[in-house]
């Protein structure tokens, strides 16, 4: 163990960082303008003033004396009022309300106007996927296909499967036919439990193929699963079907 030397190095690094900070900080302050501030206007009625994060919109809670904590309902009221105020000043901004779950009691919605305003066009949601290019999609497709093709190779090769009697999957399942991956999970009487596709692949490897079962994380089993599913593209999932 090299615990001590590490500690020494850590301390030295920290010291260097502090030193450089002392040197650099005043320069940085000089170079930059003052950070943005949100000066809150003084209360007119002895209550508490709350300001929206735009630094402009503010309202006063008359019943809340300075230093007091607002109740939850007070807080909600303030948030709604602030947003209503903001929306009054920005009538052209597009807002979408998240849908409350079906069981929830609908409450007075200060933004109900939003659903009536026409949807804005030419706007992106900023989704993660929006930043990927068509090249990325091609790479993904190629990677997926490679995985499926590897499964196809093993499916058709009894030696790659670890078989011992010359039997490969395709001999009973040309093009993966009659593997019906869409019907799993389902109770398999002969296994005496609910089986997944991989359980049946393993059963086949052990019995007709006379090989050794594969671990669920074995790349071969994963590739076989990929190939079998790929052959049933477009078939509706129907788990439990016999």
């Amino acid at each position: 163990m090299s615990f001590k030397p590490n500690q020494t190095v850590g301390a030295a690094t920290a010291a260097a960082a502090i030193l450089s900070a002392i040197v650099i900080l005043p320069a940085a302050l000089r170079a930059q303008q003052a950070p943005p501030a949100h000066p809150v206007p003084p209360p007119k009625n002895g209550g508490t003033v709350v300001m929206l994060c735009d630094g402009k919109t503010s309202i006063e809670i008359k019943s809340l004396k300075p230093g007091e904590q607002p109740t939850e309902s007070q807080g909600r009221e303030v948030a709604n009022e602030l947003m209503a105020e903001w929306r009054k000043e920005h009538p052209d901004e597009h807002w979408q309300m998240a849908q409350a779950d079906a069981g929830a009691k609908p409450h007075a919605d200060p933004m109900s106007q939003a659903s009536k305003s026409p949807p804005a066009t030419g706007q992106q949601q900023g989704d993660t996927y929006a930043s990927f290019t068509s090249r990325d999609y091609k790479v993904w497709q190629a990677e997926t296909q490679k995985f499926v093709d590897e499964g196809k190779r093993i499916f058709h090769d009894w030696k790659a499967l670890g078989g011992t009697i010359g039997v490969s999957c395709d001999m009973c399942h040309p093009d993966g036919a009659n593997t019906h991956p869409e019907t799993y999970p389902k109770y398999q009487v002969q296994l005496q439990r609910v089986a997944l596709l991989r359980d049946m692949i393993d059963w086949c490897i052990e019995n007709p193929v006379k090989g050794k079962t594969l671990d669920p994380n074995d790349p071969k089993l994963r590739a076989l699963e990929a190939y079998i599913y790929a052959q049933r593209k477009g078939v509706p999932l129907d788990y439990g079907k016999h």
Partner: protein
């Protein structure tokens, strides 16, 4: 992997190993005890098949209505059996397919009355090696009735038929049997896909052996053999019943799996002038039947494994067999028997192992499904 979940099969094999190990150390008295106990257990568990190969229709007791009506009682009816698609490997590699082939031999030998002959429907070997073909011949020697051989693609494409022909003679021939003209075709020729790809004989064989391997060509009878067929039939009158044996179905069922004969239309055209034509084919490993014009088609079962029904092209008259049970080696496999009626039409009995046999009558096909409909499956394809 101590906590691994074990299937019924795994438990059975372990139990069997234990018993066999124990048996080696037994004296005679204990041995008898074990035998008795085993027999009892087998019966109690219902492991004995409830039936072996049984005749369900009494074929020869009386001429049926159809043949009586046709007024063609001149020829004696006869039966023949078949074994097909055994796909044998060398005995050192695989016992499973050997066991199945032997089971079929037992079946046909147990037939009473014995069939006039036994058709072997092709694909004796899995990869066409001399050892596989010779093993096949050895097994078929056990058949009591005369055996008529037909070739399949698995027998052919290692050496392009050299060994098979050395063992069994020419792949296409014809003979007359009790008023019926019988033709055996070699329907699994393929156009050369191997030379340009510089394939070894083993690669060529492996390509053809892959049902879903799209690199290969489609099966065909081929121009020279079609000429031979025309000449062979030239002297046969159109009222003579014709029986054609071909390994591939002589029609177009599913291209991608070579359930297909590329020149099927031309072959059918040669057979068109005959009143009664029956084609018996192998290769498809399933209960399969079809009627095109004057021709009735019956597919044979395999002893080795069943093929699933193809996703397209299944003939409308085919009643699917129940889905195969993967936990039973013999399920959806089997052999069968043909009853050639006095009028020359053929009823076919599918002897599905561990299931009830299914009879498909010529009248079902020739009436386009209006009469004699075979029973429907409880579980058709997914």
């Amino acid at each position: 992997m101590a906590a691994r979940h074990k299937s019924v099969e795994t438990k059975f094999m372990e139990e069997r190993d234990r018993v066999l190990r124990a048996l080696r150390n037994l004296d005679r008295r204990s041995f008898i005890k074990v035998v008795a106990a085993t027999a009892g257990a087998v019966i109690a568990k219902g492991l004995m098949p409830p039936h072996s190969f049984q005749l369900v229709t009494i074929a020869n007791a009386a001429p049926d209505k159809a043949s009586a009506a046709s007024g063609m009682n001149g020829q004696p009816p006869f039966t023949f059996a078949y074994i097909s698609d055994t796909h044998l490997y060398e005995r050192t590699l695989n016992q499973r397919f050997i066991r199945a082939a032997l089971k079929a031999v037992e079946d046909v030998n147990a037939l009473d009355p014995q069939p006039d002959f036994v058709l072997f429907g092709g694909d004796l070997a899995q990869l066409g090696t001399p050892q596989q073909l010779e093993l096949g011949r050895e097994i078929l020697k056990e058949v009591k009735a005369p055996v008529k051989m037909m070739v399949g693609e698995h027998d052919w494409f290692l050496d392009l038929g050299e060994k098979w022909q050395e063992l069994f003679g020419p792949p296409n021939y014809s003979f007359d049997w009790k008023g019926v003209h019988v033709v055996v075709l070699m329907s699994v020729h393929e156009k050369d896909f191997w030379t340009a790809r510089r394939m070894t004989p083993e690669e060529r064989m492996a390509t053809v052996a892959g049902l879903d391997n799209g690199v290969q060509s489609r099966f065909e009878v081929g121009e020279p053999q079609r000429e031979w067929l025309k000449n062979d039939l030239a002297k046969v009158s159109s009222s003579t019943p014709i029986l054609v044996f071909s390994h591939s179905p002589l029609y177009k069922y599913y291209y991608n799996w070579n359930f297909w004969t590329d020149d099927a239309d031309q072959v059918q055209a040669i057979l068109r002038r005959f009143d009664k034509v029956t084609v018996i084919h192998g290769h498809t490993h399933q209960m399969l039947f079809n009627q095109i014009g004057n021709i009735s088609f019956y597919g044979m079962l395999s002893t080795a494994w069943p093929w699933p029904y193809a996703p397209q092209g299944l003939p409308a008259l085919t009643i699917q067999m129940n889905r195969a049970d993967p936990f039973d080696q013999f399920d959806a496999c089997g052999d069968g028997r043909m009853e050639v009626r006095a009028d020359g039409l053929v009823d076919k009995i599918y002897n599905l192992w561990d299931r009830n046999p299914v009879t498909v009558k010529a009248d079902y096909l020739r009436s386009r499904g209006k009469i004699d409909r075979p029973p429907a499956p409880q579980f058709a394809s997914y």
